[in-house]
């Protein structure tokens, strides 16, 4: 059933979501179908809007930290870091070396956690009946245990502080982290053996949802998605924030920019993240974990503005803050990677089939908490 000169068929408008098993939350796609082909797709966002930016402008600088946990609830550590980075830039706080290392460890563990779950859910969208997801969750559990031991909470860590981190890593938790990192390559091998060469997966993902390089740049796509399209852009390399210039790691870049590339780039990035973690856990210096001049209460940021950005697992996560010198931000703006990456969903989905829209959406790797804020 396709639109040709021979038989005129009617299009069918289907609303995928907000209650749909694989829209990764309350997200809606208004899809116009011709048979099984997508001729039009409109992403509808905002079901999870909760006034994140407005709330932030009403409360103290530090009180915002737990709110950033809830942006991308998979990666609270990197959210914390981006926000802390922006504030530190404005306040001119110097972060002690040990804290920088701890931050790198946390961020890279978050990357492992996010990517493994992202591809797990992508495969689940392909119909692999939750097996890959549960393998990913099994490994994620270790990282979450580690996060809980260190920060007190599994997902809403609220761990970073302006000028450092809240709790130091003791030897026991460092050993825990080393154990996780040591296990990870084996898990990746198992995962890859399970799926990467699976013919069904290849047939489903190769040349599906192609994002051309130019479009990726023009739409300011970042993160693994941009790199899968061949854009060599990684803020860890560009900005060298934190202590990333001390680690030896490579950035994988894809060619075709299709769903399969986005899947593979994530796996390769995890392998690189393991390398970074090994180095960071080996080299972590002793010293204070928070800047001595940093304080929690009555914290004021000098007037001015600042933009702090990091390479979050999903892409560039930025916080643009304006201060009037008071105890609260005057303006607080988030540049969430999944929101920006989601804007070109229609371009990737046109001409594909309904079944493909779901896996293309899965390969974008969105978290609605961040998209809608």
């Amino acid at each position: 059933m396709s639109a040709t000169g021979i038989i005129e068929t009617q299009t069918l408008e289907v609303s995928l979501g907000p209650q749909h098993p694989s829209t990764h939350g309350v997200f809606r796609m208004d899809v116009v179908l011709d048979g099984e082909y997508v001729v039009k797709l409109k992403p509808v966002m905002g079901y999870l809007h909760r006034n994140h930016e407005q709330i932030a402008e009403k409360i103290a600088w530090i009180a915002n930290m737990p709110y950033t946990d809830r942006l991308d609830y998979f990666c609270s550590m990197t959210n914390n870091w981006a926000y802390a980075l922006a504030v530190e830039k404005m306040a001119g706080l110097k972060v002690p070396e040990r804290a920088e290392y701890i931050r790198v460890i946390m961020a890279e563990l978050t990357r492992l956690l996010n990517h493994s779950c992202a591809i797990g859910f992508l495969l689940s969208d392909c119909g692999a009946w939750f097996t890959p997801v549960l393998y990913a969750l099994r490994e994620r559990e270790r990282i979450l245990d580690f996060f809980e031991t260190v920060s007190g909470a599994r997902m809403m860590c609220n761990y970073m502080r302006f000028g450092g981190v809240r709790v130091d890593l003791d030897d026991q938790s460092l050993a825990m982290a080393r154990d996780i990192v040591a296990r990870w390559p084996a898990f990746l091998d198992e995962f890859e053996k399970l799926m990467t060469e699976n013919e069904v997966l290849i047939a489903r993902t190769q040349r599906v949802g192609i994002l051309p390089r130019e479009l990726a740049i023009n739409a300011s796509i970042t993160g693994p998605m941009a790199r899968a399209s061949g854009v060599e852009y990684d803020i860890r390399k560009v900005d060298k924030y934190g202590v990333y210039d001390r680690f030896d790691f490579r950035v994988p870049v894809g060619e075709a920019g299709d769903t399969f590339d986005r899947y593979m780039i994530r796996i390769l990035e995890m392998r690189e993240a393991v390398k970074i973690l090994e180095q960071a856990l080996r080299d972590i210096p002793a010293g204070p974990f928070i800047a001595p001049e940093a304080k929690l209460r009555n914290f004021k940021v000098p007037a001015g503005d600042g933009y702090g950005r990091i390479e979050a697992p999903k892409g560039e996560l930025g916080f643009y803050l304006v201060s009037e010198g008071g105890a609260k931000p005057y303006r607080y703006h988030v540049r969430p990677p999944s929101f920006i990456n989601l804007t070109i969903l229609e371009d990737m989905c046109l001409g594909q089939k309904v079944a493909d829209t779901v896996i293309i959406l899965g390969s974008v790797d969105i978290v609605l908490g961040e998209v809608d804020r």
Binding site: A63, R138, G152, A153, N158, E190, L194, M195, L296
Partner: protein
């Protein structure tokens, strides 16, 4: 594909078979069957873990550390704490709360109240079994329910409690006007 077509499918089957068989010979539970069978077995929570706040008292419940300074009330991100200071017959403030309510349906367990408290009076609990039948009144926790002894604090978080006790030793009960310790 350089290798044989269908190899990927077989490889996947091998992995799932290994996991299937492995789950029966899984000595260390965390390797494969990582779920806890909740009501029968409980997770051992690490010391740092935090759920809802509680108020620490030394000895008897009337010797609570809280001075109703309202720092936690102002710093609380979702504004879920409500404090009214006790006053005597003449209207003189008594440095302890008459009302201390926490709406745990709003509380987001961030632990900032415990961090900012200069008197180590409010701490984070480890008890996650707080479900109630009602949605509103039942989840509004009042002062008597919030009070927990220092012994309880030692019981759930011994290292942290010992550290706190060490810093508190010199001044048993902070006098009015004591500078809050720097954090």
């Amino acid at each position: 594909m350089s290798n044989l077509l269908g190899k990927g499918l077989i490889d996947g089957l091998v992995v799932t078979a290994k996991n299937f068989v492995g789950s029966y010979f899984d000595g260390n539970r965390k390797d494969r069957l990582f779920t806890y069978q909740y009501p029968e077995e409980r997770m051992k929570l690490p010391e740092n873990s935090r759920t809802f706040p509680f108020l620490v008292y030394d000895g008897t419940p009337d010797q609570l550390r809280c001075t109703a300074c309202k720092i936690c009330e102002t710093e609380c991100p979702p504004q879920c704490i409500y404090i009214v200071m006790e006053r005597d017959a003449n209207g003189k403030p008594l440095q302890r709360p008459r009302v201390f309510d926490i709406d745990i349906s709003v509380c987001m367990q961030c632990g900032i109240c415990a961090e900012v408290c200069p008197f180590n009076a409010i701490k984070m609990d480890c008890d996650f079994e707080r479900s109630k039948h009602g949605r509103f009144e039942d989840l509004l926790v009042h002062l008597p329910e919030l009070l927990k002894s220092n012994e309880y604090y030692h019981q759930i978080k011994s290292a942290e409690a010992t550290r706190v006790d060490a810093t508190r030793k010199p001044t048993k009960k902070p006098a009015a006007g004591t500078k809050p310790e720097k954090i």
